[in-house]
Amino acid sequence: MGEVKMALSPDTPNSTRRTVLKGAVAGGLASLAFGGFPFPAFADADAKDWPQDAFKQKSEADALKTLYSKSAEPSDKVTLDAPEIAENGAVVPVAITSSLPNVSGIAILVLENPSTLAAAYKIPEGTKAAVASRLKMAKTSKVIAVVESEGKLYSATREVKVTVGGCGG
């Protein structure tokens, strides 16, 4: 127990405390069930990881340059699964898979949204190059899936028609 605490405390005392409090409050029953606090092996989700500037960009080129410092080329090894027509722009299911080797990142861009970048995923070694999630779309737009493989970026694009926008419009 002491060792675990030591490993946690030096660089992030505040977030550690927050985690512990959060664990105590939110996970009350769960903590009891686990016989104590679920002490993490290292820091939890950290807002410092969030690429603030990349999420501010208004174009594909700028978003990719800010996030990955390069641009993408189209590839048939990137598969983007999205509906042709989305009746509800608030919930558009989007799935991306890729057969490219050593994929380290996946990003989803919606060109007509207020911010181009919708989501970015870090794919560590051993994790499959496949992500499914749900996005909001303001209006009909091109959706671009970008996959980072061996230091290069590859993309697939699809147009999704939106009947009712999902950004309050």
Partner: protein
């Protein structure tokens, strides 16, 4: 108080498939409430999944991710009974975490 995180991780062969739902408004900052006032942006920025002391997946989300976000991925490794830790933090600094068992 119930956790905001629901996760289902199933080991099959040499991979574990993870599906997760998090309760969160994911307010984009563009939507007005019934009084016509803008609801400030409030969204999850980072979600992290850990197994066996290693990060297996990290999501970086913007306000364009849908309310009560869902995500699905899979990773090599993981056996029934292993811990999978899920944690998130949003743009207001709120966070939550859950340790789930792989099924």
């Amino acid at each position: 108080m119930a956790s905001t995180i629901r996760v289902r991780a199933v080991a099959s062969g040499d991979t574990t498939e993870v599906q997760s739902l998090i309760q969160h408004p994911m307010d984009s900052g563009f939507v007005k409430d019934s009084k016509g006032e803008l609801i400030p942006a409030h969204y999850i920025e980072v979600v992290q999944f850990e197994h066996d002391g290693k990060i297996v997946f990290k999501a970086l989300w913007g306000p364009a991710v849908s309310k009560d976000p869902y995500v699905k991925f899979s990773f090599k490794g993981g056996t029934k009974g292993d811990d999978l830790k899920v944690s998130w933090v949003d743009n207001k600094g709120t966070s939550d975490l859950l340790v789930a068992k792989i099924q």
